[in-house]
């Protein structure tokens, strides 16, 4: 029998429930408000009182309203049909809701239960299987969606029966497996999993050893993110956080992309709805929407569901990872999630940490980032979840709890800078403060040696150093005046401008420059190195400035020209002429 209770207290979306029987931490319950059922989650228990956070508005709720506990935690439903869907933070399908307004207590099924899927078996009767082993697959659009032994199955099972290839609905039994005690269990295409628990059905989680390309020079060349790695993008408003994230979503070399719009503007999600079905995935030629799933809890949607939304997204990512796929999770913005935690902690009258955030904020963030990673499956294949979150620091000040906690958890740091944005130097990623710790991984360095070239990392570090020296020199020129420093200072400065304009800056709205594949990045870096190594004879700083401006313009035109086209080579020759005539 279900545990029941009655409402005894209400402060905004924190409700106190006196219950009979037993409840569990994070258990889901439904509060009955005149026949409308409001979903809520237990976040604290004290004696016979459970404190629950309600995922909807509590307007009209009364003391004495009845509550039913569900004996499970917040779960997502996993199965074919997740891809290309648009869900809210609790995995309700937003596309099948009829009303213009989100109706309180309206919960829609994330999967189409009537649709027929083409199923092909992979396992055979008599096979010994464990959780997450592949029993068969269905075609989910282009994607071979594996039907797995449910993650909740413990121990070894024997496949007793398996349906033949053919069309089935998600709820049809496709296999029967027998456990060690001889008991039979039916397996359908659908399974459930609690969002706050990481899916652990894999053999091992090695250190990341490959790069995931994004087509962005500032990331791939200078601070690459590993497949299965983690990164974050902090920045004040108006610095291009969302543009950068959308650029990554459009171009990253991933099989499946989860976009978690967490507490941000609804119009930005509308942009994805409008554009992604039209835009083409540069790696496969398919429409972008065919590899994208959206989890959308915009800033005006209930706060408690905002916290759930990032977990919902992560769990779906882990599900696809178990199919041996490369998954990328983009969450915009994790600060809103942290703020949701702060609001609840505040209502529960917990003692606050820095800036009134809960004291365990840091551990919550790091355990979430820890769910990303590349994993080796039982069948020897690998799958990965790469996670990039944005952070919206209050007042653009990076010394605040969310940024600091995230910095401890994420391995790549892409700091967006107001100053660069003001100068329209996009992407406004600070070239000096940003870092990728993966460049310190011997596995990654080896990988780059093999896939790019032998001294790639050394070249990149050398260029970075030139840039840093140039920025330092720029300050001296500012203080002492153009004539107050030797011409060699100007040359150093202009080398850094060359690196900045040609390699770091990239036009996300230009059809060609937006996406720069790795071999092209390599060539551009090579050309920049060539210019930097060239011995110019300058008598005045004006000469130096004009020469470098000319070179920058030619190299930028190359960035805007189609790779290896006549025009591209024409500009490359122009560069040769400039250098030869000097």
């Amino acid at each position: 029998m279900k545990t029941t209770g009655i409402v005894t207290g209400i402060v905004s979306n924190l409700v106190t429930v006196r219950f009979d029987g037993h409840v569990a931490e994070n258990e889901i319950c439904y509060i009955n408000l005149n026949g409308v059922k409001l979903m809520a989650e237990v976040i604290k228990v004290n004696g016979k009182n459970a404190f629950v956070q309600v995922f909807e508005s509590t307007r009209g709720l009364k003391q004495g309203d009845t509550v039913e506990f569900e004996a499970h935690m917040l779960e997502v439903i996993l199965g074919p049909g997740l891809l290309s869907s648009c869900y809210d933070g609790l995995q309700n399908n937003l596309t099948t809701m009829s009303d213009v307004f989100l109706k309180r207590g309206e919960y829609t099924d994330p999967l189409d239960r009537e649709k027929l899927w083409d199923f092909t078996p992979i396992a055979k009767v008599g096979d010994k299987v464990m959780s997450a082993d592949w029993l068969g697959e269905v075609k989910e659009g282009w994607l071979p969606h594996k039907i797995m032994v449910p993650f909740s199955f413990e121990g070894t099972y024997t496949v007793k029966s398996l349906v033949e290839a053919g069309q089935y609905k998600v709820d049809d039994t496709i296999a029967v497996v027998t456990d060690e005690k001889g008991e039979d269990h039916k397996v359908t295409m659908v399974q459930k999993w609690p969002v706050k628990v990481a899916i652990g059905s894999y053999v091992e989680k090695p250190r990341p050893f490959k790069i995931m390309s994004t087509g962005l020079r500032t990331i791939d060349t200078f601070n690459p993110i590993a497949e299965g790695g983690t990164g974050f993008i902090p920045g004040p408003f108006g610095c291009g956080k969302t543009v950068l994230q959308h650029a990554i979503a459009k171009q990253a070399d991933a099989d499946v992309i989860l976009m978690a719009a967490c507490g941000e503007r609804a119009n930005e999600v509308v942009e994805i709805f409008t554009e992604f079905p039209e835009l083409v995935d540069p790696h496969t030629g398919r429409k972008l929407m065919e590899r994208t799933t959206i989890i959308c809890n915009t800033s005006n949607m209930p706060v408690a569901a905002r916290e759930a939304s990032v977990y919902t997204a992560m769990t779906i990512c882990e599900y696809y990872r178990a199919m041996g796929l490369k998954v990328l999770l983009l969450a915009d913005s994790t600060s809103r999630w942290a703020q949701a935690l702060r609001e609840m902690s505040n209502r529960m009258e917990e003692l606050p940490g820095a800036d009134a955030f809960p004291v365990d904020l840091s551990s919550i963030i790091s355990s979430f980032y820890a769910r990303a990673g590349i994993v080796r499956l039982r069948n020897g294949k690998t799958g990965s979840v790469t996670f990039i979150g944005t952070v919206s620091p209050a007042g653009g000040n990076l010394k605040e709890p969310v940024t600091e906690s995230t910095k401890k958890a994420a391995r790549c740091f892409y700091a967006l800078e107001q100053n660069r944005a003001d100068q329209k130097r996009y992407p406004a990623v600070n070239p000096i403060d940003s870092y990728s710790k993966y460049l310190d991984y011997p596995e990654i360095v080896d990988y780059l040696k093999e896939t790019v070239e032998k001294d790639w990392v050394d070249k990149v570090l050398y260029i970075k150093n030139l840039l840093r020296r140039g920025k330092e020199v720029a300050e001296q020129i500012n203080i002492l005046g153009d004539d107050g420093v030797p011409v060699s200072y100007h040359e150093q400065f202009w080398k850094s401008e060359l690196i900045d304009f040609v390699l770091f800056q990239q036009d996300a709205f230009d059809a060609i420059d937006a996406l720069c594949p790795m071999d092209r990045q390599q060539l551009m870096l090579e050309l920049v190195l060539e210019v930097c190594a060239h011995k110019f004879e300058f008598d005045t700083f004006e000469e130096c400035r004009d020469k470098y401006k000319e070179i920058i313009n030619v190299l930028r035109q190359m960035n805007f020209s189609e790779y290896k086209s006549d025009k591209f080579y024409q500009y490359q020759n122009e560069l040769k002429t400039i250098l030869a005539n000097d």
Partner: protein, 441 residues
Amino acid sequence: MTKAFQRIYTQLEAITKATVALRAQGVSNDELATVAGRLAQVVKIKGDLVTLQVFSGTEGIPTNADVLFFGEAPSLNVSDELSGRFFNAYGRPIDGGPEVEGDHRAIGGPSVNPYKRRQPSQLIPTGIAGIDLNNTLVSGQKIPFFADPDQPYNQVMAQVALRADVDKIILGGMGLSNDDYLYFRHEFENAGVLNKIISFVNTTDQPPVERLLIPEMALAAAEYFAVDKNEKVLVLLTDMTLYADALSIVSNRMDQIPSKDSMPGSLYSDLAKIYEKAVQLPDGGSITIIAVTTLNDGDITHAIPDNTGYITEGQLFLRADTDSGKVIIDPFRSLSRLKQLVQGKQTREDHSQVMNASVRLYADAQNAKTKLENGFDLSDYDNRCLAYAKQYAIRLLSIDVNITIEEMLNTAWELFAEFFTQAETGIKQSLIDKYWPAKAE
């Protein structure tokens, strides 16, 4: 207002400056009540102890005050009768007219399903070049003016509202000085557009906590016209900083732990709930929100403008320009995130190039100015930039400009031709060939 089932209580257990608490049964969250005749709302229920926020303050309320519960959340009667009327924060007429009859709707209702939204795509012309040319507004957008308290933001907003091509203008005035309230009223009457205006006003002489109702009242009316009537609605909210101040008063009285700048931790969500009501609906209706956020000495890192910037689609910065003696829309710090949805699509093809060139040349003028201040010599180009900047500020950036977008573009071309060579503008040659003005002589 008295109804048969109304429950009356007469024993208060606690009184603070903004709240009272009493023991009562069957009370629902967010429900309205009156305490000694003053409007109040349920904000906390703990067992049978109910805490009410009294909007007009608790001065003089005795422990034996009558408390009447209404059994419903704050609401507004919506119908076409709202047009042309002035209301207070509770939605009661303050213009001497009759109560509005119509559909009784709770304010602060649910949000629009993001999947049902459409991408904003309709230009809203205002006649002000600092807006139309550089920071074009789009219907369904939400954008605040960031202004210091001494700047004429209410006048600019009234101008924008009166020139915008919309079906309804809804004014939500929070902590409006009585003079500004009369100014708005006078402007609306003079313009002869009273029939498309609806106002909800809380003036400075009224209790600050009442302000909390204003945005939701205004937006409930807006949703009626945009959703039910498919109309284009423009909502003006002034001043959102005073709204946020009222939020911090209430949270303080409820013993909540403040976060940055003594604002409540929920400030972001509270503001987002209002601003995100801006929407382009599938059936043609739209809600556009233009707000005012007053700044403390231009400080945009304060929690109120900072959170606002993360929520809204850009901001319009007012600045007094000493070179031209005009109040201008600052082209550097202002931004309309949605402008590219209409520029060159609903305006002339040269729009975005002209905008970028004119702002870039203005930036060159700023550099020249810095050089001048630091005692360096100016080149001929620098001098021309400075002369251009002054004319650009007077003829285009100033808030008293009122011309069509076509005229703005032509003006910009005239300025280019007057001060620069074609190459210095860096505009695409095909556009220069088409639009560069012929020499006058």
